[in-house]
């Protein structure tokens, strides 16, 4: 009898959990985790599903994508937005769940590499894959990759100009091609500003543990780095904390993170994930589907990658002089006179 009761209670607990995690419907859309969805069938509504590999709340990459679809929902009445967070697991299944109930599926994160085989199973659904590209073009997949190396080049230049110790650092989330693309750009930019600069890098090997991010930043600071670039999602919060405690500067990533710690973050490497999703879906709504089946590189020339110095009124550590130099470098990258290395 007691065992039965225990089992029942355990079941209740699991169900409670199921209710907690999983799909979060935004806006007017109800919470339908999978299966057929009425919204997909009604002619006038366009269901857009945003699937992120991690979770929201990073105030960077994923939150930027969320801001993009939220803007879509606000600007286009016929667009219904639904979001799914994979929490770093079941990427394929969540992608299918999204495709079951939406017309456009936006997959955010390099982890969705099985999109190559999943997308052809859903010929009526159009996919957008953020941050990576299929090995061969798939007719209903639009790949959007970002020239993060170009943006990182600029912040690397700023870092080297701001450094007094002659050492700058970067905290990467893991030793992977995408993260290293930031790092090579950062290193090249730093060397461009000061050929003698030392660039120290460290990988946190996790994206969700700010305590580890903090330790990584302190380790780099112990090595003399006084400007540290964070490329590690939520670990970055720890990098900013360490900067405030130890008195070094930090550089934000993906979104303009200046507002998080005004006096620590001198600038941010901006990757306009949200804007690019917005523009792609806007083109789709306007009837232009020519982008699908291709890889769109969002780079500095089309304005999707750049440097942010925070909103107006934010404390500015970077002098106008350096900012002007950054602008001229930007022009040189766009016209091709500076070629930034890449790992892709």
């Amino acid at each position: 009898m007691k065992k039965l009761l225990a089992m029942l209670l355990a079941l209740v607990m699991t169900l409670a959990l199921a209710a907690c995690g999983g799909t979060t419907g935004t806006d007017t859309q109800g919470e339908t985790p999978s299966g057929t969805n009425d919204a997909a069938q009604t002619e006038d509504k366009l269901a857009v599903a945003l699937v992120v590999a991690g979770t929201f709340g990073d105030r960077s990459f994923y939150d930027s994508s969320k801001a993009g679809v939220d803007r879509l929902a606000a600007d286009f009445e016929k667009i219904d937005v639904k979001t799914i967070e994979c929490n770093n697991e079941n990427h394929d299944q969540q992608l299918r769940n999204a495709a079951d109930s939406a017309k456009i599926v936006v997959a955010v994160g390099w982890e969705f590499y099985n999109i190559e085989t999943i997308a052809p199973e859903y010929p009526d659904v159009d996919f957008i894959w953020i941050d990576n590209a299929t090995s061969a073009p798939v007719s209903n997949v639009l790949n959007i990759t970002y020239a993060q190396n170009e943006g990182s080049f600029l912040v690397g230049y700023v870092a080297a100009k701001m450094s007094e110790s002659g050492v700058v650092g970067a905290v990467g989330g893991e030793d992977s091609a995408t993260i290293n693309d930031f790092i090579v750009g950062f290193t090249q930019g730093a060397k461009h500003a000061n050929a003698d600069i030392k660039v120290e890098t460290i990988y946190s090997n996790t994206y969700d543990d700010p305590a580890i991010g903090k330790e990584c930043a302190i380790t780099l600071n112990d090595k003399g780095a006084d400007v540290i670039f964070q490329i590690a999602s939520k670990c970055g919060d720890g990098v900013f904390e360490a900067g405030a405690e130890r008195g070094f500067y930090a550089i934000g990533v993906d979104s303009d993170q200046k507002y998080i710690a005004d006096d620590v973050i001198i600038c941010s490497m901006m990757k306009e994930v949200g804007t690019s999703i917005y523009d792609a879906v806007k083109a789709y709504v306007g009837g232009d589907k020519s982008l699908w089946g291709t890889t769109w590189v969002a780079d500095m020339s089309n304005g999707y990658v750049g440097v942010g110095y925070g909103d107006e009124g934010a404390t500015q550590q970077v002098s106008d002089e350096i900012k002007a130099e950054v602008e001229s470098l930007k022009a040189s990258i766009v016209d091709g006179s500076i070629v930034v290395e890449t790992t892709r």
Binding site: A6, C20, N87, E215, T219, D237
Partner: protein, 313 residues
């Protein structure tokens, strides 16, 4: 080579060892009690995660880090009761309940942090955090002073707790009964003391220790921020420390320090070897530790057997 060694064995390394060992050690202090009481507690990770969240929440609502710690302790009591209810009262499988607790904690904290703090988590909210302690006399000591000074208040508290736990487990009747509840429950019952009651006590104290570990993680280690999944397997490492230290508080603390040390070492070795390899180090150490524990256990058994045969002869 000399420079590499100086870099690897700097004061910073040992300072980091202390910092990353503390949350693990705090949880291990609780884990060793349940281990003594004969409960395999793998739910510590979830307990830490909930402690971390409730600590931040308490601190946020009351604008005081002390209240944050107090609410984490209260939560620890509640979680301990909850755990004991299933494991002791309903005699469910502790492994399953531990797993359930971990997943439950992950879901609950994610849900609550979003509904209370909004989509972006707790970061962005100004949350009171625990102070760091500066001791003037330590400034005079070169290397060790640097390591021991200016740490979070909880690091010093942990030392006290380790000593206290040692006294409790080995020198008080209650500690003795808890150990008996795990090793020889029938004997304890014969002596008129309920082993179940001891298990309840061990679970609650474990909940409190894990709550403290969580509060330290979010309020002491970090300056008042919660991130989903921030316990990052520290509960499992704490469990490994308990097993490795044979549930002895001092040994478990040393095991935690060892983990902290290899963690710190890993980050410094990244300059020389691939980060994929350095991230294996803590887990490699776990495996080595476990092998050691098994071998040690086997040897003890063999000695015991030889002794009994010798006595018979």
């Amino acid at each position: 080579m000399d420079e590499i060694l100086r870099h690897i064995f700097s004061a910073g390394t040992f300072n980091q060892m202390l910092r990353s060992a503390t949350p693990v050690a705090l949880a291990a202090m609780g884990g060793l009690l349940t281990e003594h009481a004969g409960i395999m507690n793998i739910g510590m990770d979830g307990m830490i995660l909930m402690g971390a969240f409730i600590g931040v929440l308490g601190s946020y609502l009351c604008a005081s880090a002390a209240m944050g710690v107090a609410s984490a302790v209260l939560l620890g009591v509640a979680v301990g009761l909850f755990f004991a209810l299933f494991v002791v009262k309903f005699k469910s499988d502790e492994f399953i309940i531990g797993c359930a607790l971990n997943t439950f904690a992950a879901g609950l904290t994610a849900y609550l942090s979003r509904s209370i703090f909004g989509l972006s988590g707790t970061s962005g909210h100004d949350i009171a955090h625990l102070p760091t302690v500066h001791l003037d006399f330590l400034d005079a000591i070169p290397f060790f002073g640097e390591i021991l000074n200016d740490n979070s208040f909880f690091i010093y508290l942990t030392w006290g707790l380790v000593a206290l736990m040692w006294v409790f487990v080995y020198k008080t009747p209650c500690g003795f009964w808890i150990r008996a509840a795990g090793e020889k429950p029938e004997t304890l019952r014969t002596a008129g003391i309920s082993p179940e009651r001891m298990k309840w006590i061990a679970s609650i104290l474990c909940g409190i220790c894990c709550g403290l570990a969580g509060a330290h993680l979010s309020l002491g280690y970090l300056n008042g921020s919660f991130v989903e999944g921030m316990s990052n397997s520290r509960g499992y490492i704490a469990f490994a420390c308990v097993i490795f230290g044979a549930a002895n508080p001092a040994k478990a603390y040393i095991a935690a320090l060892m983990f902290g040390f290899f963690d710190a070492l890993g980050y410094r070795l990244q300059s020389y070897i691939s980060s994929d390899l350095t991230s294996i180090i803590p887990y490699l150490i776990t495996v080595v530790m476990m092998v050691y524990v098994v071998v040690r256990g086997q040897r003890k058994k063999t000695t015991l057997r030889t002794n009994t045969t010798a006595q018979k002869e």
